[in-house]
Symmetry: C2
Subunit: 510 residues, 2 copies
């Protein structure tokens, strides 16, 4: 295959523009260019690098409605959502611009020489974080703007000083090409080497595999399926020089309904839950796919309201026919599981592009007996697990795999129970929230969009928010280097530039 066409999500047909399929030679060329750009790009000062990120944001905005129309056609997502997502994308780039300027990410540390120390003098030691090298970014299907070509992985890698080679998602090649062109204009406008950013596209897995195996690639960012993420991790570990893979893969995002909250507002919670579950056809990494509740007053009101909301839910166009088929299989498996009751189905889909919402219910005992009930079904499906008491709730929680989020719906009178559950939730999830819904991931400094395996392949990181920059950095220590050789930010005269430094263990900002 030498070219492939952009598919319209609504019809599932290849109705859009044709794109050349990139092959091994394109991967090698992009990686060689990224390698050649690395030393130049990483040497940019903070202001220039921040201005570059902001210029990318401007260029994306300048692409105008053409971008929204392309993304609507390719993803099936509605205009309002995509306009919001564009806002998030450019906001994210600007946030990383501000982060680069602030400079905390450099992790500066200075231990001045102690020439008179006994029995041995201490040398002068200075530390900063340096970028890892060229980064491969795999665009996600479910955020064609905010987690694809110029999404969070790209923004944080560029912020860290790493050139980026994007493997564009084949579900939205036209959207990706428009964004890649915008980034290319920013690269040229800022006088950066061409290899600072490259964009490769093609269906199938060969392209991505070749990219991860290229010896010039130093790290990988990925958002997608568990199978896809694990395959990349395996390739990365089998390299002569293994590299880190930040794969955001799989999460069912347990929502805990605590007794007093259920009692007080079971019905309202049921209605709100449906809103979170069905938004964007349920195609969120943080979709509430599991509800855990202790039997008691309000639970029936919750399930009744949720079931009625689901029954009224319109079928929605899914991102790809493949995702729609997988969703159909996943809901079918739940429907056929002996111990699972189907509480409600949404309006019927068309079988190939529209997903039909689904709500199921089972007992804690049944859930504990069948690990398959805890697998992610990507789309607007959720399973309510009725627990007899706190002990059963805790047993279910304990068997769960790592999660991106865990949600508590609670009243003040539930506080003691919530406090008992918190240590367990902290071990299971990267974000714990109260009285809200896990969909809606704020891009800010205190966000963690990450979590224990298999939510991600590296629980020590986040892929959303400013802390995401840390994934692409490593520390280097400089011992007794003359000022002329020291990186500018580690020289004595740089003190007072507003960047925090840990000097002899004490943090100073001035």
């Amino acid at each position: 295959m030498t070219e492939f066409r952009s598919v319209t999500a609504e019809t599932g047909l290849p109705e859009g523009e044709a794109f050349a399929v990139h092959g091994p030679a394109d991967v090698a060329a992009a990686c060689a260019a990224a390698e050649a750009a690395f030393d130049i790009y990483r040497a940019t000062d903070r202001e220039s690098r921040a201005a570059f990120l902001e210029r990318i944001a401007e260029e994306i905005e300048a692409t105008g409605d053409e971008l929204i129309v392309a993304a609507m056609r390719e993803s099936g997502l509605p205009r309002a959502r995509l306009e919001g997502e564009r806002g998030r994308t450019v906001g994210q780039l600007r946030l990383f611009g501000a982060v680069v300027r602030a400079g905390h990410w450099q992790g500066l540390r200075i231990d001045p020489a102690l020439p008179d120390r006994q029995p041995l003098p201490r040398p002068d030691l200075r530390l900063r974080m340096v970028p890892l090298g060229p980064v491969a970014v795999f665009g996600a299907s479910n955020f064609p703007l905010a987690f694809s070509t110029a999404g969070g992985d790209t923004a944080s890698a560029l912020a860290a000083g790493c050139p980026v080679v994007v493997k564009g998602h084949p579900a939205h090649p036209q959207t990706g090409a428009l964004v890649a062109a915008a980034i290319g204009r920013a690269v040229r406008a800022c006088g950066l080497p061409e290899g600072t950013f490259s964009h490769l596209v093609g269906p199938g897995n060969e392209l991505g595999a070749a990219l991860v195996q290229d010896p010039r690639i130093a790290a990988v960012g990925f958002t997608g399926s568990r199978a896809g993420g694990l395959a990349l991790v395996k390739l990365a570990q089998a390299r002569e020089v293994p590299i880190p893979v930040y794969a955001e893969m799989s999460s069912i995002n347990p929502v805990l309904l605590l007794p007093e909250a259920l009692k007080a507002r079971g019905e309202a919670l049921g209605a709100a839950f449906v809103g979170s579950l069905t938004m964007g056809a349920g195609q969120f990494c943080t979709n509430p796919g599991l509800v855990l509740a202790i039997e008691g007053e309000g639970l029936d009101a919750f399930t009744a309201a949720a079931a009625s909301g689901i029954a009224a839910a319109e079928a929605q166009t899914m991102l790809t026919t493949g995702i729609c088929a997988a969703y159909g299989k996943g809901t079918e498996a739940l429907r056929n599981a002996a111990a699972v009751e189907t509480l409600a189905r949404g309006k019927d889909g068309n079988g190939s592009t529209r997903g039909q919402a689904a709500l199921f219910q089972t007992s804690a005992a049944a859930f504990l007996a069948d690990r398959a009930l805890g697998h992610e079904v990507f789309g607007a499906a959720s399973l309510i697990v009725r627990c007899a008491d706190e002990t059963e709730l805790r047993a279910v929680l304990s068997t769960l795999e790592g999660q991106l989020t865990a949600t508590l719906h609670m009243d003040d009178a539930d506080t003691a129970l919530a406090a008992r559950l918190l240590p367990l939730l902290e071990r299971k999830a990267g974000r714990i929230l109260a009285n809200g819904w896990p969909t809606g991931v704020e891009v800010c400094h205190a966000m963690v969009h990450g979590g224990p395996f298999p939510a991600t392949s590296d629980s020590r990181t986040t892929s959303v928010g400013s802390l995401a920059i840390d994934r692409f950095l490593r520390p280097v220590s400089y011992q007794n280097l003359a000022p002329a050789l020291l990186p500018a930010e580690l020289r004595d005269e740089a003190r007072g530039d507003g960047v925090p430094r840990l000097v002899d263990g004490t943090l100073s900002i001035a």
Copy 2:
């Protein structure tokens, strides 16, 4: 085998105390105890945890000369070195006590709610770092105190809030038992659960493998051979839930002799080099195993001085007969390599416990043609690579694997050359030093004892210095949690406790 005896390094004979060989049941019991201790230990406040680390230091000091005598017998290292190493060990524990108190490692971030933000309000988001869980630590043979039972890995994991299960090095079981007993006394004195620290011993690899495979272990710290480290990485990745392994494995620590420095003091550099190379029988991770020099004035003076120093070097007792045998094999391979010239051998060893120092020389072309010449020979052996010019020097550097250190010997007039080489050195090593020797690793805030693969299995980390604590932490974000449920350090009233917080992107210390 149910027990094994402590071996005297000097004789290579099992002359010491007998120790029970721990098996799978002991591993399971230690991991269960660590798991049971985790929630209690990680909930300790900073002051209590710091006091615990300091108490361990006191208990080690209280062990007195018995510890030094045991370590001397088991390691063959001299008294002065081991007394210094004990000082380093307790200093390291106290440093981490201070680090725990200062609290930077918690990485506190607060993005307050913006209820009036349009189009959507922002929730309240607060982030802190939490410990990963029980950590397995593999003691190193070459630092029986500072990088073994109560060494840097143990100190940093305990500082992070992780219980530790040590797999003691079988080369110094008596030393390990004395230190483990000291830690046990500190655990009890501080009223901590027994499972906060456990110590397992035994020869062979089964014990360590069982430990890494135990599902309750959340991370691994290791210092040792490349084969050993890679085996643990493989086991950790094959688990149902993969875990991070911080393995410090292999480095030949290139020392670059720049032309002006060579011209000015070739002979003095040669003599000083021998001091660094032969110290501790060359058994340092940062031993200068490779010297890179550009042909020119002073290089012959360097090699002559180095050769004469090596020829005069006494054979030294090595840590184990296995290490001595491997050292013999490694030097033999270099001696037999066609393109390698033997410049000098030290005084003869006894063949089984004492290592004979060795100095070799080859050309850049020969080095580039045979990757085996770049393999680590653990002990007092080094290879000088003569490069015709900067281009050849750069070619040799480029082919090197990742390193813990890279050293520049330079004068002011070498600055331009050094500046050209620095970007390459930054990509190859975790620490770059000028006009010193890589042996001697300062335990401080700005130290990096780490580096690109295969120097370590994770270039993003250091195993020495206060930054080592970050290896055992992961971020958790709390969204809209009521103050009663928030961790104390994230509540509003905790502000002003002197711990830095990133509030809305701005760092505040007050």
